[in-house]
């Protein structure tokens, strides 16, 4: 388990940005925000929101709304209104995925597969509502970004005559796309690729984080065939749920299904190390 790495160049100082890592919802949620989000309290508000979601939605807390609902000790009407919102969204994804996404894995109500992405997206929206136009929130590997990364905090900007990058990520002047590395599920410690994201979300489902943990709801056993599947698109709640559903489908079905999704693109790595992507994914890949 020892690792050593060769000499690398000195880091670039980052100015007027704040990074914060918050343990919550059984994972770590990290923020990259403008310093103003600390001063105006919106970073704290976003963190409080995540802890509130944990209290209401955690299936591991016996007094959470989700636990009480699963035990039929309350009805949806007796829960926070967000519970009905989440149930409705889970139902929509279940229907559009042919049942490969479910809020009742194993037959017990547990919307965790939707809640993390949804909560992180909403945390990013809290920062936006307070005036931040560029921030990144990463909840255990699922990323929602607003705007791009301000150039002022970066290494030297590209020379003026360099061609403008083509494709979907198109941040405002003075910003560059966020660069989100996609963990390689087959070569630990490596990145499989880097995705550029502006005003968009990146979610990855796979075997890397906690072993084979995504169950094919139709077969009742761990999904086989894929090592990881990444979805990019506007909403992290949907990108995360789509990635989970597609992973459960296995490679062939997932490819057809993700190609049918408007506004969302997918990149998959199979257990054998083969890769495929939807036709619109290529512009999201950062140039090497």
């Amino acid at each position: 388990m020892l690792s050593s790495f060769p000499l690398l160049p000195a880091p670039v100082p980052v100015t007027a940005r704040v990074r914060r890592a918050e343990p919550v919802m059984g994972t770590v949620v990290s923020f990259d925000v403008p310093a103003a989000a600390v001063a105006d309290g919106s970073l704290d508000a976003a963190v409080r929101w995540l802890h509130w979601v944990d209290r209401v939605f955690s299936p591991y807390r016996p007094d959470s709304d989700v636990s009480l609902l699963a035990a039929a000790e309350v009805t949806v009407d007796g829960c926070a209104p967000e519970v009905a919102e989440v149930i409705s969204a889970c139902t929509a994804v279940r229907l559009c995925s042919g049942g490969y996404f479910t809020a009742a894995p194993g037959g017990v109500f547990d919307p965790s597969g939707y809640v993390k992405g949804w909560a992180v997206e909403r945390a990013a929206a809290i920062l936006s509502a307070a005036g931040s136009s560029n921030h990144l929130v990463n909840g255990g590997g699922d990323v929602q970004c607003a705007g791009g990364r301000p150039r002022s905090s970066l290494a030297p900007a590209p020379v003026p005559d360099s061609p403008a990058p083509a494709g979907p990520p198109s941040p405002a002047p003075g910003e560059e796309p966020w660069r989100v590395g996609i963990a390689d599920p087959l070569r630990r410690g490596r990145l499989a690729l880097v995705v550029e994201a502006a005003d968009s979300a990146v979610a990855t489902s796979g075997i890397a984080e906690r072993g084979a943990h995504i169950v094919d709801p139709h077969l009742g056993r761990p999904a086989a065939g894929l090592a990881s599947l990444t979805v990019v698109g506007p909403s992290l709640a949907l990108a995360d749920a789509y990635a989970t559903a597609a992973f459960a489908m296995g490679p062939a079905r997932a490819r057809d299904w993700t190609e049918s999704l408007p506004d969302y693109e997918a990149y998959a790595i199979t257990e054998d190390g083969d890769t495929w992507q939807t036709p619109g994914f290529a512009p999201h890949i950062a140039p090497a």
């Binding site: 388990m1 020892l2 690792s3 050593s4 790495f5 060769p6 000499l7 690398l8 160049p9 000195a10 880091p11 670039v12 100082p13 980052v14 940005r17 704040v18 990074r19 914060r20 890592a21 918050e22 343990p23 994972t27 770590v28 990290s30 923020f31 990259d32 963190v47 990144l136 990463n138 255990g140 590997g141 699922d142 990323v143 990364r149 970066l154 290494a155 966020w178 660069r179 989100v180 590395g181 996609i182 963990a183 599920p185 630990r188 410690g189 490596r190 990145l191 880097v194 995705v195 990146v202 979610a203 990855t204 489902s205 796979g206 890397a208 984080e209 906690r210 072993g211 990881s228 990444t230």
Partner: protein
């Protein structure tokens, strides 16, 4: 220069919150891995052991001329199959992320980790000591 790395990798808020969990005794881990010797001009910053729900996590940072040139995992959870899986996958990736963040510009990683807070907190304390 080192401070910039610290701020990109870790959150002090996380560190503060973990201090409340420091009372419990640390679980023993398997035989501690041997640590590679330092080359001339390098020095090591050893972080404190940070308890996580999976067991203590401790890292050592190797620094040369103000840059991190290596990160060694000194202790990691190793008691259960789950922990071994997490350790095998999570730590090398995070070590890679620490170093990658300096060499190429990577703002975040998708498909990430479970015990990362332990790694980050120990890394933070190593860098705090060296700063």
């Amino acid at each position: 220069m080192l401070v910039a790395v610290v701020l990109t990798v870790a959150g002090l808020a996380a560190l503060r919150s973990f201090k409340t969990h420091m009372n419990g005794s640390e679980r023993a881990v398997g035989s501690p891995p041997s640590v590679p010797p330092l080359s001339p001009g390098e020095h090591a910053l050893t972080g404190r052991a940070v308890p996580t729900v999976y067991g203590p996590v401790q890292v050592r940072v190797v620094e040369r001329s103000g840059s991190i040139v290596g990160v060694n995992i000194l202790r990691h959870p190793a008691e259960t199959t789950m922990d071994i899986q997490i350790g095998q996958f999570a730590f090398p990736r995070l070590v890679g992320e620490t170093l990658t963040a300096q060499s190429a510009r990577i703002d975040s990683v998708s498909g990430a980790t479970y015990t990362s807070h332990g790694y980050i907190s120990s890394l933070q304390s190593a860098l705090d000591h060296g700063a």
